[in-house]
């Protein structure tokens, strides 16, 4: 895919990310345009979370460029424009905290040091709680909530920062259908406000109507990028190209490399 708009919220150009010396993402091209809702699909271990972590700056990439809103990620400083919902992290810590406190911590990127929270902070927190439908639970301890409700708390926390780009890693995992619907409604309201959303999902379910584009990952590569797919279709997508060097059933796309050490040695020679 050719990069059309270099100032789009997310532009990945030939990005490779290794973890512990092993290439996990390989030559990934991805553009998420302003106002788009893109789902990232793919089997377990295909590199969806790695891609998300590269986009959010949590993992460094070794090749290619990652641009956020047109700025290379190394120089990007406007982090409050980015909202992040990590995969499967519980909203509860070692000390009790209320739903409102956790959601308010989403403002932290926009707050100045040593200043009390202002009216704008409170308004943003209330409206984030409203979007996810947890206003009546705001003073509950987060550990009193169900898993799906905690997931909504984490989404509200990301929303409280009033991001222009929202990156969610499997917010629907282990969430029942009514809660998925509530989530889809929340994302729908955000989309209507003009937010850009990059969403990793296993079950698309009620989010289907929101989605503009699907990207399917396989073995750290983009295997499909086009009109929305459901997960069932996605799991039957085949590789865009074949690798004759691979043996049947082999999933390692770097031929004749048995270990990272091997890989480095080859690179040097």
């Amino acid at each position: 895919m050719t990069t059309s708009d270099p100032s789009a919220p997310v532009v990945l150009d030939q990005v490779s990310v290794p973890i512990g010396g092993r290439p996990v993402l390989r030559d990934v091209d991805l553009t998420v345009r302003s106002g788009e809702v893109v789902t990232l699909l793919g089997p377990n271990g295909s590199g969806k979370s790695t891609l998300v972590r590269a986009v959010t700056g949590l993992l460094p990439h070794t090749r290619g460029t990652v641009r956020l809103f047109g700025t290379p990620i190394e120089q990007f400083r406007d982090w409050p424009r980015l909202g992040f919902v990590p995969q499967r992290s519980s909203a509860a810590g070692g000390v009790p905290a209320t739903v409102r406190e956790v959601v308010a911590s989403g403002r932290v990127g926009r707050r100045r040091l040593l200043r009390p929270s202002g009216a704008a902070d409170r308004v943003a927190v209330e409206s984030a709680l409203e979007v996810v439908g947890l206003v009546d639970r705001a003073s509950y301890g987060v550990s009193q909530l169900s898993g799906g409700q905690q997931q909504r708390v984490l989404i509200a926390r990301a929303l409280a920062g009033e991001p222009d780009l929202l990156v969610l890693d499997e917010p629907t995992a282990g969430v029942d259908l009514p809660n998925q619907q509530a989530l889809a409604d929340a994302l729908g309201r955000l989309k209507a406000r003009g937010a850009t959303i990059l969403l990793v999902a296993h079950e698309i379910g009620p989010m289907m109507p929101l989605i503009d584009r699907s990207v399917v990952m396989r073995d750290g590569r983009v295997a499909y990028d086009g009109p929305p797919l459901t997960q069932e279709v996605a799991s039957h997508t085949h590789h865009a190209h074949d690798h004759p060097a691979d043996g049947p059933g082999s999933h390692d796309h770097v031929p004749h490399v048995a270990s990272p050490l091997d890989f480095e040695r080859r690179n040097r020679s």
Partner: protein, 334 residues
């Protein structure tokens, strides 16, 4: 001399001020350690600080300041090890604990000081606090409290979800190091009253006590500081009172008092949690199919003894895992 005469003694007044400040600072930073599930980090730093005290004794400089320096270095080292490693990091931390304690005892021996001198630092002491110590305690406590309370939103975000905080643009590593350094500082603050080996208890037990009744992070923090103050001052007075008959260091009495407060609030916590579960409104459920009870000899009513919970336009009676609503001649499962 009677018990009340104690309070007119200069060393006792100094000890009381130090205990009060310790009771404020240690639980404040302890709350963040517990939030990060690093409750034992304080213990590790305390052990390392023993070496710092010993170096002070050996070189004839103030043990408070050498302890601050060594404890801060140890805390930073532990934080770096923790950041890098997983299981091996655990072992490395343990090595640091034992190394700190063993080194401290050895160096104290070399310095020609007896076990009694070190004992005052390990378990606290009533009469070892000089005017200079009081001033350094005040300064260090003010630093710890200003930073923890002033940076509360940032520290809370980092302690509860480092990945999220990093994406929000916070320098997570700096904040983690800051917490470690503050922990080291408050441990040296607490050294004179509770002692290095028990100081971690004053960081953790008040938080555990406060958690029993608090639901929010802020009230937990405030409650922990309150419990810390009561335990530190109360424990000190208790050890002074006991010292008419036997010799007790203040450290153990402070910690035991804190534990007693935890034990006392535990049933309260159980009751509160139970009550908050019962008080919580029932979730909005979409219309469930009509389900009537099979057989129900008991008749629910105003004074039947079962909790009556308003549910929309009627009342549910809660018992034995059922919610029963009157429906004509029988009860419905709601």
């Amino acid at each position: 001399m009677t018990f009340w005469d104690l309070f007119s003694l200069g060393f006792m007044q100094r000890a009381l001020i130090a205990a009060l400040l310790t009771g404020l600072a240690a639980p404040a930073i302890g709350t963040f350690l517990v939030q990060r599930r690093l409750a034992l980090l304080g213990d590790g730093i305390g052990h390392v600080a023993v070496t710092g005290v010993a170096i002070g004794l050996l070189t004839g400089t103030s043990p408070t300041w050498t302890a601050v320096v060594v404890a801060v270095l140890g805390a930073v080292l532990m934080e770096l090890i923790r950041e890098r490693g997983h299981t091996n990091g655990d072992v490395a931390l343990a090595l640091l604990f034992y190394g700190g304690l063993a080194g401290g005892v050895l160096i104290t021996g070399i310095a020609g000081e007896g076990a009694a001198t070190l004992q005052a630092f390990l378990f606290g002491s009533l009469n070892a606090i000089s005017v200079g110590d009081v001033w350094s305690t005040i300064v260090l406590t003010v630093v710890v409290l200003t930073v923890t309370l002033g940076l509360l939103p940032q520290l809370f975000a980092v302690a509860s979800d480092p990945d999220f905080a990093r994406v929000a643009g916070l320098r997570v590593r700096t904040y983690n190091l800051l917490i470690a350094v503050l922990a080291a500082v408050s441990i040296t603050v607490a050294m004179r009253t509770v002692g290095l080996l028990l100081v971690s208890a004053l960081m953790v037990v008040p938080v555990a006590t406060s958690q029993q009744v608090a639901r929010s992070f802020r009230t937990t923090l405030a409650g922990a500081m309150l419990v810390g103050c009561v335990a530190a001052v109360g424990g000190l007075v208790l050890s002074a009172a006991l010292s008419f008959r036997v010799t007790v260091a203040p450290g153990p009495t402070i910690v035991l008092l804190a534990l007693a407060m935890f034990t006392a609030t535990w049933p309260l916590g159980v009751w509160l949690r139970r009550r908050s579960r019962l008080m919580a409104p029932f979730p909005e459920v979409t219309a469930t199919p009509h389900r009537s009870t099979v057989e129900h000899p008991h008749e629910h009513g105003e004074a039947c003894g079962h909790p009556a919970v308003p549910h929309g336009d009627h009342v549910d009676y809660v018992h034995d895992g059922h919610r029963h609503a009157v429906h004509g001649e029988h009860y419905d499962e709601h």
